[in-house]
């Protein structure tokens, strides 16, 4: 029960737009035009409730017969990516199989969380990977400018602790950026404009959800006021 309602999109890139009051805000454009409902999971049949969304176009010959069958049943064009969004049966009722998911799921001013796969940076040192400070660039520092320093103690414990921050592969990991404001919604073109940066490279797959913290905050207020 981690995922709530949301949609699948493609990061197009960043630009800036003027808001109504004339101020300029940096935005990321997310293209969700090919997001469609491919299937549903029902408590009766699957013992849980969810909506399966498909995204992106793919040639028929690249899919297996079983996969093609899914799309044929739903009456949609084959989709490259599939993802299930866990929803209660009541919420799932708003989605019909075979229909596109409109970006007006979100409205201007909403807060959203955007999940994506970050850009790969390869094997990186501790300064880039873990934001270590490194050592002074001058005052006689010799071949030790970007080093991590000591990584443990002495005979006790006589080993390096697990999960010690060290150099290694950085990037290509799932990251969620929270509480981004929706600046504009273009239903016709299926575009979502989100204020600020979003994980991943251009053309990368992203998932957009309503902000988790907004729901948490609302629940907190409810518990306090007793409403």
């Amino acid at each position: 029960m981690t995922d709530v309602k949301g949609l699948i999109g493609k990061k197009v890139g960043m630009t800036q737009v003027f808001t109504e009051d004339g101020s300029l805000v940096p935005v990321t454009v997310i293209d969700a035009s090919s997001c469609t409902v491919v299937g549903k999971r029902t408590p009766e049949k699957d013992r849980y409730s969810a909506v399966t969304l498909g995204f992106g176009e793919v040639k028929e010959k690249r899919l297996s017969r079983a996969e093609l069958g899914t799309f044929k049943k739903a009456g949609t064009a084959p989709r490259r990516h599939l993802k299930e969004f866990r929803l209660s049966p009541e919420e799932a009722a708003a989605f019909t199989v075979g229909e596109p998911v409109k970006v007006d799921l979100f409205t201007k001013g909403d807060l959203v969380d955007v999940t994506g796969i970050t850009k790969g940076r390869g094997f990186q040192g501790v300064m880039k990977r873990w934001n270590f400070r490194g050592y002074g660039q001058t005052h006689g520092t010799h071949e030790y400018r970007r080093h991590p320093g000591a990584i443990g103690q002495r005979k006790t414990p006589g080993r390096v602790y697990p999960n010690k921050k060290m150099p290694g592969h950085y990037g290509v990991e799932q990251v969620t950026t929270q509480n981004l404001t929706v600046v504009d919604v273009d239903v016709e073109k299926g575009l979502l404009l989100v204020k600020g940066a979003v994980p991943g490279h251009g053309d990368g797959l992203v998932f957009v959800h309503p902000a988790v913290k907004v729901a948490l905050r609302a629940a907190h207020v409810r518990s306090r006021t007793g409403k």
């Binding site: 197009v12 890139g13 630009t15 800036q16 737009v17 003027f18 004339g22 300029l24 935005v27 454009v29 293209d31 273009d186 073109k189 575009l191 404009l193």
Partner: protein, 163 residues
Amino acid sequence: MRLSALEYVESKQLRKDLTDFRTGDTVRVHWKVKEGEKERVQPFEGVVIRKTKGANRATFTVRKVSYGVGVERIFPLHSPRYEKIDVVTRGSVSRNRLFYLRDLKGKASRVDVQEEMLEAAGLDAAAPAPEAAPAAPPEASAAAAEPAKKPKGKKAKGEKAAG
């Protein structure tokens, strides 16, 4: 060519009523200022020393000298926050970016006015007093380059009004 989504988003933001001006021109930007509930127009007049390109990200920089202090403002070209841009004079310059103006003071920091504009101004001035004709254009250009010198500017305007 299919418009990419980014270009589409940017194209929606472009202003249709762009004024045609170049670097070296003296312009007056009618910037809308919000004070509480009210909105009023505050003109900013000076020489355009830089224009940058890039769809809705295009900007231009206006430089003026106010009470002996150089002031530069960068305006987004497609900002909805300005009412209009007036071109006061067309400058005759051989650079695209006039950063050298920052190092110049007084008379040296004036920008030459394009000849066609001089002639037009000369004809105007020639009508009331033929002797004043050669003197008027340089004065007008000086007033344009240094808006801080208000008395001169007023004088020039007064002469024109008389004509």
